[in-house]
């Protein structure tokens, strides 16, 4: 199904790859500058074992950072939702935080927080936290006034109203924000690794580059794209799985 709905897009991408391959063969450009897709795939295959080790490290950091980010965004969103003053005080601060160039920050983070997982996680959080937070807050605002009124008229308190109305209303917006953030989670992790790490796709890219292997750099790019798409697919699955209708279909007696 996924394949069918994207068949056209896959064709386009194949066409682009073919063009690229053709260009490399015709122009005779050195693979040091522009390796052909076939070179990249071959290198990917030959170095699969090594790359997958690095990929695992990246997945670990990205998963940790991203889930921390989601957790923080969720907690923050609740705090800001219940105290509009906080929202007015902090949203601009978060906006400003998005204007900081990571290239400047990443080396300093290593200096401040060492070589462990912490600085990398912080960078992933810095990149992914704000879009999730914003989408949660805008999701909360989509809770219909009438639904809240109805709950209040039944004698429900703030917390119950939040849990039973505001939160479910924010579901679609939340997942939309999650998807946007997830697109950048892997890339941010790679970037953070690039600034300093023992292993990970970022380190692999750096090694490949310092050893003058453009083909391996591009192999790592392919892996990064695959990881991101996998993460997006995984989120789709969670979204589908936690959908009230899916849940009901699983449990319903009929």
């Amino acid at each position: 199904m996924l394949l069918r709905s994207n068949a056209l897009a896959i064709l386009v991408m194949l066409a682009l790859l073919l063009l690229w391959e053709a260009y490399c063969r015709m122009s005779g450009v050195t693979p040091l500058v522009l390796p052909a897709p076939s070179d990249v795939l071959r290198s990917l295959y030959l170095n699969a074992h090594e790359i997958s080790g690095h990929a695992l490290a990246t997945i670990g950091v990205a998963a940790l950072g991203f889930s921390m980010s989601v957790t923080f965004a969720f907690l923050t969103s609740i705090a800001l939702h219940f105290t509009p003053t906080l929202e007015r005080a902090f949203i601009p601060v978060f906006v400003v935080s998005q204007t900081i160039p990571l290239v400047a920050l990443a080396p300093l983070m290593i200096l401040w927080f060492g070589f462990g997982v912490l600085p990398k996680m912080l960078l992933v959080i810095l990149v992914t936290f704000f879009p999730i937070l914003l989408s949660l807050l805008s999701g909360y605002r989509q809770a219909p006034r009438d639904f809240l009124d109805l709950m209040a008229s039944m004698g429900a308190g703030r917390l119950q109203r939040f849990r039973r109305v505001t939160l479910p209303s924010a579901r679609p917006a939340f997942f939309a924000g999650l998807r946007i953030s997830a697109t950048y989670a892997i890339v941010a992790t790679i970037f953070a690794e690039y600034a300093g790490a023992r292993s990970g796709i970022g380190i692999y890219i750096l090694q490949a580059k310092n050893n003058f292997r453009a083909d391996l750099v591009l192999s790592a790019v392919v892996v990064s794209a695959v990881l991101t798409l996998a993460l997006l697919g995984f989120l789709r699955l969670i979204e589908w799985w936690t959908d009230p209708e899916t849940r009901r279909r699983r449990h319903a007696p009929a």
């Binding site: 219909p144 009438d146 109805l150 008229s153 039944m154 004698g155 039973r164 009230p244 209708e245």
Partner: protein, 246 residues
């Protein structure tokens, strides 16, 4: 008897409505009718205890002579939309009020389940709201209101989103439901044809700031309310409403 006395609602020193006094009798349907923006919804929300904080209200609400503390104990409110939560099944939607009041899901379901049949909702228990027609949704919303066993029920334009034919059907259905299980009802509407078909008593509000400008009992039994029998009353209402707003 539920008495509302001297209700006034203001936003930033502008008088939106009042002073208004009215009383609801048990087992009687009162319709509150008036032009758009006169404050019908505000009256009903104040009674349900959910007037938004920017609207300042003064007035008293007494139940059989004693002032009221917790509105949710004896009043059920049904908002202008059907307000069925799309992420819950009809069954779960119907049990909502009972669960909020503290029942377990099992208890709530035991209480609600037998009512699906008489409400014509048999078989919809596990469906989601979007799978129901407008009329069925309205019945489900009403079931959710009724199942809470409140003595008084506040309905805000329950049928305004329905098409004319479904509307007529639902009006007849509501009347028969209330005959089977009578409550004290305050129903807001701006449709004079609807009001005259359903009400035991009609309260007509003036345009903003809304006050009650007529209190008309309708003594004709509902079975006999043909277009012809109601024609004079409607003409009178029309005159009242059209004259007011100039």
């Amino acid at each position: 008897m539920l008495r509302l006395e001297d209700l006034e609602v203001r936003v930033a020193d502008t008088l939106l409505l009042g002073p208004i006094s009215l009383e609801l009798r048990e087992n009687q349907v009162t319709c509150l009718i008036g032009p758009s923006g006169c404050g019908k919804t505000s009256v009903i929300k104040w009674m349900a205890g959910i007037l938004p904080p920017e609207m300042k209200a003064s007035g008293t609400l007494t139940l059989d002579g004693t002032p009221v503390e917790r509105h949710d104990r004896f009043l059920s409110y049904q908002p202008q939309s059907d307000a069925l939560f799309p992420w819950l099944t009809i069954g779960e939607n119907v049990c909502l009020g009972l669960e909020v009041a503290g029942m377990s899901r099992g208890e709530a379901w035991a209480k609600a389940a037998p009512l699906f049949e008489p409400f014509g909702l048999k078989g919809t228990e596990h469906l989601f709201p979007r799978q129901l027609s407008g009329g069925m949704r309205q019945r489900a919303a009403f079931l959710r209101t009724i199942v809470q066993d409140s003595r008084y029920i506040l309905l805000d334009e329950p049928f305004s989103a329905l098409d004319a034919v479904t509307k007529i059907r639902m009006q007849e259905w509501l009347v028969s439901r209330l005959e089977a299980d009578p409550r004290g009802v305050l129903m807001v509407t701006h449709d004079l044809h609807e009001a005259s078909r359903i009400a035991d008593r009609l309260l007509v509000m003036s345009s903003r700031p809304g006050r009650i400008m007529a209190d008309l009992p309708i003594n004709l039994p509902r079975g006999q309310r043909s277009e012809t029998a109601l024609a004079d009353l409607r003409e009178h209402l029309k005159t009242l409403l059209l004259e007011d707003e100039t």
